[in-house]
Symmetry: C2
Subunit: 110 residues, 2 copies
């Protein structure tokens, strides 16, 4: 029986009522060391992510919804298919400015 | 003036009328060596990607739409928020089985 290529997720982490983070499990991949980690997170309409700052590099890929990115003190709109590089340790947060859940895929690495 | 965190893309590569691939440009990121490459690709309704096989590892992240994955000869449905690991050199292709464009984010690494 073939191994499913579909990856699973760790139990979601909730940040208040408005945001959940779902980190990808890579332990089913035995063939290689994965040089990054990955998750997707969901921000509900009218809600925002907590301000984040960290030493790892990160890229956000906007899958669904509309948002406002606050990055290093500057605001810019976010739309589907936007790819965003978050340089460490710059502060970043995102607000859902639309009517549907905002869904962002994330990759981070040292 | 702050540098925008928004990444840009190489000119899209078209595969017939039904698929386009948009590779992310990382040359604006000077702080680090990126240990992967990334793109998003779009498959139009009723269309499919060409069969692909390669020596790099790849992960697909389904952002929008519905599809059918053919991986190593096995078929499985694809829905938004599915993360798929494509082990080299297994053959893979995806068909758009829905009514809207199928959008998949991809990461690949050696």
């Amino acid at each position: 029986m073939p191994i499913s290529p579909k990856l699973s997720f760790l139990p979601p982490e909730e940040y208040g009522a408005g945001m959940s983070v779902h980190e990808v499990r890579f332990d089913s991949i035995r063939a290689t060391a994965i040089p990054f980690k990955s998750s997707y997170f969901v921000v509900q309409p009218g809600c925002q992510s907590p301000v984040d700052t960290h030493s790892v590099h990160e890229i956000w890929m906007l899958a669904q919804g509309e948002g406002e990115l606050i990055y290093d003190g500057e605001s810019s709109p976010l739309l589907p298919l936007d790819f965003i590089y978050l340089e460490p340790p710059k502060k970043h947060e995102v607000r859902n400015t639309g009517a549907e859940p905002l869904i962002i895929f994330s990759i981070w690495w040292k």
